[in-house]
């Protein structure tokens, strides 16, 4: 007899007045304490609860306008139709979230708005992927195929997430001090230009630093031949940089306050700065770094409920509203879906829907080197 049955039998006995309220609560409390201390039984109970038709599913994202758009356009109509409540949570970064998921029980977290292919591979490596039934997500056919294929490649033909939006990490510069022509001529090397010492910034994330280090040393970031040359460029940038930023808000603040004149930046955040009236230029250099974000369903989640929610979130009305909110183009194929007037004006938007001008992290290559490079970057950052 499992824990659920035990609980149901206990409840029936109480309802039939076989036991009084005090005895019922005492037995329930004792079971809770035992389960809480031992962990496992409570976890099993949680999994069973999630596996059945759930009363709620949990969604975690970046918060702010994105969550507001999800709430208004996807969660509310979804709850109205299915009766399933969407419990919305937020996280500050992909690394923080994966650490939380790793420490959780299967089923505790369900859906998340995650960074694209590289993190998808990390979750797969940790055996946290699920298998979506694509028949339950008819809107998936409207998604740019170039964004879906890398996910299929990692999980052997099936997918555990649907692509949702994409963007670039390009070079952002203050036009008061750096002209468009200079930025175009120097490209990625603008960020290791001695002339701007103390006015250069950079994202303190090892992948981006190495990617730009490869570009600055004229190498293919997905096939680095001379890693020492890359580290030298990372060191050069480190010595010229004022600050490694760690969030989009910090990036915007550093540029807006003119603490720094040049940094790499996320296309949507730079667009937000431009919309606020700051004269910030944005350049995707040749071989510019593209990325996608996806809606990921974690192992142990109630699949049918999650698939239905994904379909809601891929409705053009929802995806476009979210895209406009965060200034990143949606993953919907512009050749199939009319995306309105705002989306085509967003940076990184590709009207062809092929994304052929962008380069993405090769997940196999970068995951293979992750342990070594992330640790080495930690040292290089501190002066080694």
């Amino acid at each position: 007899m499992d824990d659920t049955k035990r609980y149901e039998r206990l409840l029936n006995r109480y309802r039939d007045r076989d036991i009084n309220r005090r005895t019922f609560l005492t037995a329930l409390g004792a079971a809770g304490v035992v389960a809480g201390v031992t962990g496992g039984p409570m976890g099993m109970l949680a999994r069973k609860a999630m596996a059945a038709t759930p009363e709620q599913v949990r969604f975690d994202g970046w918060g702010g306008v994105v969550s507001e758009a999800f709430e208004k356009y996807a969660f509310a109509p979804y709850t109205k139709k299915t009766g399933i409540e969407v419990v919305s949570g937020t996280f500050g970064g992909a690394d923080e979230y994966i650490a939380r998921v790793k420490a959780s029980q299967p089923g505790e977290f369900n859906l998340a708005h995650l960074s694209g292919v590289f993190d998808y591979a990390r979750y797969h490596g940790l055996e946290l992927t699920s298998e979506l039934n694509e028949d339950n997500i008819p809107n998936l056919k409207n998604v740019i195929p170039t964004l879906v294929e890398p996910l299929r490649k990692i999980t052997g033909g099936t997918i555990s997430a649907v692509p949702y939006d994409y963007g670039t990490t390009g070079i952002a510069y203050n036009r008061k001090y750096i002209s468009d022509d200079e930025a175009k001529a120097k490209g990625a090397k603008l960020m290791v230009d001695e002339a701007y010492k103390g006015k250069i910034g950079g994202w303190g994330e090892w992948k981006t630093r190495i990617w730009y280090g490869a570009m600055q040393s004229d190498q293919d970031p997905n096939n680095i031949q001379d890693i020492e040359a890359v580290w030298d460029m990372v060191r050069a940038h480190r010595d010229l940089a004022l600050k490694y930023w760690s969030s989009g808000a910090e990036l915007m603040s550093l540029l807006a306050e003119e603490e720094i004149y040049v940094t790499e930046g996320w296309s949507g955040r730079i667009k937000a700065l431009q919309d606020q009236g700051h004269d910030i230029g944005y350049l995707d250099p040749a071989g510019g770094l593209g990325w996608q974000e996806c809606l990921f369903v974690l192992r142990g989640s109630p699949m049918a409920a999650c698939e239905e929610l994904l379909n809601f979130m891929l409705e053009p009305e929802v995806a476009i509203a979210v895209a406009e909110g965060q200034s990143y183009p949606p993953a919907l194929d512009p050749q199939k879906i009319e995306l309105g007037e705002v989306i085509p004006t967003l940076p990184a938007f590709d009207p062809s829907g092929t994304l052929s001008s962008l380069s993405f992290f090769d997940p196999a290559y970068w995951n293979e080197n992750e342990a070594d490079w992330s640790k080495t970057f930690s040292r290089v950052q501190r002066g080694y």
């Binding site: 940089a241 003119e258 995951n367 342990a371 950052q381 501190r382």
Partner: protein, 290 residues
């Protein structure tokens, strides 16, 4: 008779059992998990390999990188503590010796910073010392400088942020110590010919040393364990040991290495507390929280 004695012996343990159980569950058991974790390994996929491996410990104890960052951390904590001691003694002395009726209000003011998030307090320095911050704006407006001075994102601002965070701890500890000194002692010293400064140097300062030491221990331990301040106010190179723990656990998803690193820091700071307790007694710190 024997049963009574056994019962009497058991009573304190029975009374203590809720506290002991809580401490065991919330402190000792998690700590043991961390110890066990430190002997596991991180696989290439990020999953943990269960077993008994010394690799993490060999790396942490044998690698100069970790020693250097640890040394840098202790140095920053030392600077912070010394500055807190010098800067904190004066307001503590003032509050302890003031004849103002609003002494309670002054103490309340000391507690006021704790009502605001530590992160917000740390970030406030960006608005003060930034290129377009209050200080640069003031200096430019009164004509002292023409262009803004770059004051942020270096080790000095990290120390400044830590002093801002930890100063109330120092002031409170020193205040408690000063407040407990019998005022007749300084008056007696002065009546025997001491000047005011001599009375302070020969009587007040030595008697307030336990409070100063307790405040220093708190400031040092808290400063050495912080990681937010270097992230917010430090430059690319500025890191403290706790940042390495954070990176190992969150960025690299290497919980076993992060566990070993955190145990090293814990052991070092624990040793400091043990030494302090051996010579000065831990009860001095507890007084400031009463």
């Amino acid at each position: 008779m024997a049963a009574d004695v056994a019962g009497a012996r058991r009573t304190p343990w029975v009374l203590l059992s809720p506290s002991l159980a809580t401490i065991s569950l919330l402190l000792i058991v998690p700590m043991l998990f961390i110890v066990v974790y430190s002997f596991w390994l991180r696989t290439a996929t990020g999953a943990d390999q269960v077993g008994f491996y010394l690799d993490n410990w060999i790396e942490v104890l044998g690698d100069r990188f970790y020693r250097d960052i640890l040394f840098q951390t202790l140095l920053i904590a030392f600077y912070t503590t010394v500055i807190c001691a010098f800067v904190g003694y004066i307001p503590a002395y003032f509050v302890a010796n003031t004849r103002m009726k609003s002494k309670a209000f002054l103490l309340l003011l000391l507690m006021l910073p704790f009502w605001i998030s530590y992160i917000i307090r740390t970030m406030s320095w960006i608005n003060i010392l930034g290129t377009s911050g209050a200080l640069n704006t003031l200096l430019i407006s009164i004509g002292i400088i023409d262009d803004p001075i770059q004051m942020l994102y270096n080790q000095q601002t990290v120390v400044l942020g830590l002093v801002h965070y930890l100063l109330p701890f120092m002031i409170l500890n020193v205040y408690v110590s000063l407040d407990g000194i019998d005022k007749n002692l300084t008056e007696a010293a002065q009546s025997l010919g001491c000047t005011g400064f001599q009375a302070f140097r020969e009587v007040t300062l030595p008697l307030s040393m336990p409070g100063l030491a307790a405040g220093s221990l708190l400031c040092f331990v808290l400063a050495a364990g912080t990681y937010i301040t270097p992230i917010v106010l430090g430059g690319p190179r500025d890191a403290m040991f706790a940042n390495l723990v954070f990176e190992a656990i969150v960025t690299q998803l290497n919980w076993p290495l992060g566990s070993a690193l955190s145990l090293v820091l814990l052991a070092l700071l624990g040793a400091l507390v043990v030494i302090y307790t051996r010579y000065l007694g831990i009860d001095q710190i507890a007084k400031s929280f009463k």
